[in-house]
């Protein structure tokens, strides 16, 4: 029994060892690499840069950056505070509604706990929500509901569903099957099984994702104003249109501070629910 294995060993001993290549055919491996390099060079050359325009723009950019050194919170404070309040309300309302709708859809979109028809419907909803970019949805909803925060609120709720349901479903699919099985073996009903066997396993991730989505929704609310869907974005847009870079700087600083605050808060919360 040891005879043949020793001779097999003899033939390979002394050979160097290399990790097997991901693409086995040598010509294909090098072909793809060289092709990618050629594409990269061509792609970079195809981008036209007007260096004269850049030179002029640098000056404008410098003024913009300089404005951060002396942000003006005072002149337009009523506009800023009203816009900020609207953004915060939009953010919180859309996060709460979006998360509440995401949870059942996330359960439905997890293949290991849902029957196939439910799974397909829920995955369909997730796919639609993710395929439609926020700005496009916002333009549509502004057309339907008119200018203002209602369109922004609905847009962000809709976007939250695609984001949260998908990631929640993926976390459920990756859960420890045996823990859930143990609950099922006790004769639990479906909802009890979810509550005892599934929920404890995915709760930290759900809370972490919800905090992250709150953060995203706040930042998005600053963009949605550009298409008339309410919030601080409208104020920011007006400030840019009037070349009031100092007011714009003030708004951006407030956004940065709030996002940092949310980040800090989410760190604390996630550490506690682990």
């Amino acid at each position: 029994m040891t005879g043949p294995s020793v001779s097999e060993l003899d033939t390979i001993i002394g050979n160097s060892w290399k990790k097997p290549a991901f693409i086995k055919r040598t010509w294909l491996r090098w072909g793809l690499l060289i092709g990618a390099l050629i594409y990269l060079v061509l792609a970079i050359n195809s981008v036209e840069v007007n260096w004269h325009r850049v030179w002029e723009g640098l000056d404008r950019g410098a003024r913009f950056v300089a404005a951060f050194a002396r942000p003006d919170f005072v002149t337009r404070w009523t506009d800023i505070s009203a816009g900020m309040l609207e953004s915060i309300i939009m953010t919180i309302a859309s996060s709460v509604v979006g998360i509440a709708i995401s949870i059942p859809i996330g359960l439905g979109a997890a293949r290991n706990i849902s029957p196939l028809p439910v799974y397909l419907v829920c995955r369909g909803i997730v796919a639609i929500s993710r395929a439609l970019q926020e700005i496009i949805v916002a333009i549509l909803l502004v057309a339907i509901f008119g200018f203002g925060p209602l369109a922004g609120f609905l847009t962000l709720s809709f976007a939250t569903i695609g984001f949260l349901s998908k990631l929640l479903a993926e976390d459920i699919e990756a859960m420890d099957k045996v823990q859930a099985e143990a609950i099922r073996a006790s004769g639990a009903r479906w909802w009890q099984w979810i509550n005892y066997g599934v929920q404890p396993q995915v709760m930290p991730r759900l809370i972490g994702l919800s905090m992250y989505r709150l953060d995203i929704n706040f930042r998005e609310s600053a963009i949605l104003g550009l298409v008339g869907a309410g919030g601080i974005g409208a104020t920011l847009n007006t400030a840019f249109d009037r070349y009031e870079y100092d007011t714009a700087a003030a708004i951006l600083i407030i956004i940065i501070v709030i996002v940092m605050g949310l980040e800090y808060l989410s760190g604390i919360i996630r550490a506690r629910v682990q």
Partner: protein
């Protein structure tokens, strides 16, 4: 009390895990199911409470035929079959008490369980069981703070609080040290005796099985190849179940263990 008639399981992959298994377990009988990895031991006990759906044959718990039950009726019958798992299968982020009380889920309504407002009798019984296994002081600890042996004790409490007639036990001592393994096996067997429970214990440690049970069943490639008392496990029988190996040491070790245990 449990009767399997020609129980068959073929997985979607085409693997035939159980080949027409006939088995009868009487009330209060503790049975060890031995066999090599992949022999179908786990599949067999999961086909009884239908965590795995059998593809043929019948299983009777007393007079109830299990394989054709509707989901509501199946839930009622699952309450009578407590299950103890390999690697404990506690819900790690729930407390010890929640894990034990989850054994009552088949008996309480959704809102009661959701609000963790279990009937006082259930709470008292949970405390009694935890006290019995020496973990009363751990009741409000999270399950993932416990050691392996402690977790399996909680798993035993969770199965017993169902007030079952039958225990389905899947490799209860895998990943436990030898001393803890014996303690856990002893606890399971004692509890079965106290409460008159029947049990099927999947176990790959032959010596441990011989030490604690009155009946041993050998499974190989999904078919029953041995059914007898621990004393009847000769090297020939072990070769039939597991394949060629020097079995004398395994069996001798058992004798020593027995002496040690009786001292």
């Amino acid at each position: 009390m449990l009767r399997l008639e020609g129980l068959d399981k073929t997985y979607a992959t085409g693997d035939r895990a159980l080949k027409a298994v006939d088995l009868e377990v009487s009330k209060g009988q503790v049975l060890a199911l031995i066999g090599p990895s992949g022999a179908g031991k786990s599949t067999l006990i999961r086909c009884v409470n239908r965590l795995v759906e059998p593809t043929g044959g019948k299983a009777y718990l007393d007079d109830v035929e299990l394989t054709t039950l509707s989901s509501a009726a199946l839930r009622r019958e699952r309450r009578r079959m407590g299950m103890i798992f390999q690697e404990y299968a506690l819900v790690e982020r729930l407390t010890v008490m929640e894990n034990v009380l989850s054994g009552r889920l088949g008996y309480v309504g959704f809102w009661r369980s959701f609000l963790r407002r279990f009937p006082q009798s259930d709470v008292d019984e949970a405390y009694r069981l935890l006290d019995r296994v020496g973990l009363l002081h751990m009741a409000d600890k999270r399950a993932d703070e416990l050691s392996g042996g402690q977790r399996q004790r909680v798993g035993i409490c969770r199965a017993l609080i169902q007030n079952p007639a039958l225990l389905l036990v899947d490799e209860p001592t895998a990943s436990l040290d030898p001393k803890t393994s014996r303690e856990i096996m002893r606890l399971i067997v004692e509890m079965c005796r106290e409460r008159g429970l029947a049990a099927i214990i999947n176990i790959h440690d032959v010596a441990l099985a011989q030490m604690f049970v009155e009946r041993v069943v050998g499974l190989e490639l999904g078919a029953l190849v041995f059914d007898g008392t621990p004393d009847e496990l000769t090297p020939d029988v072990l070769t039939r179940i597991y394949g060629e190996e020097d079995w004398e040491a395994t069996i001798e070790k058992v004798d020593e263990d027995d002496n040690e245990a009786s001292q």
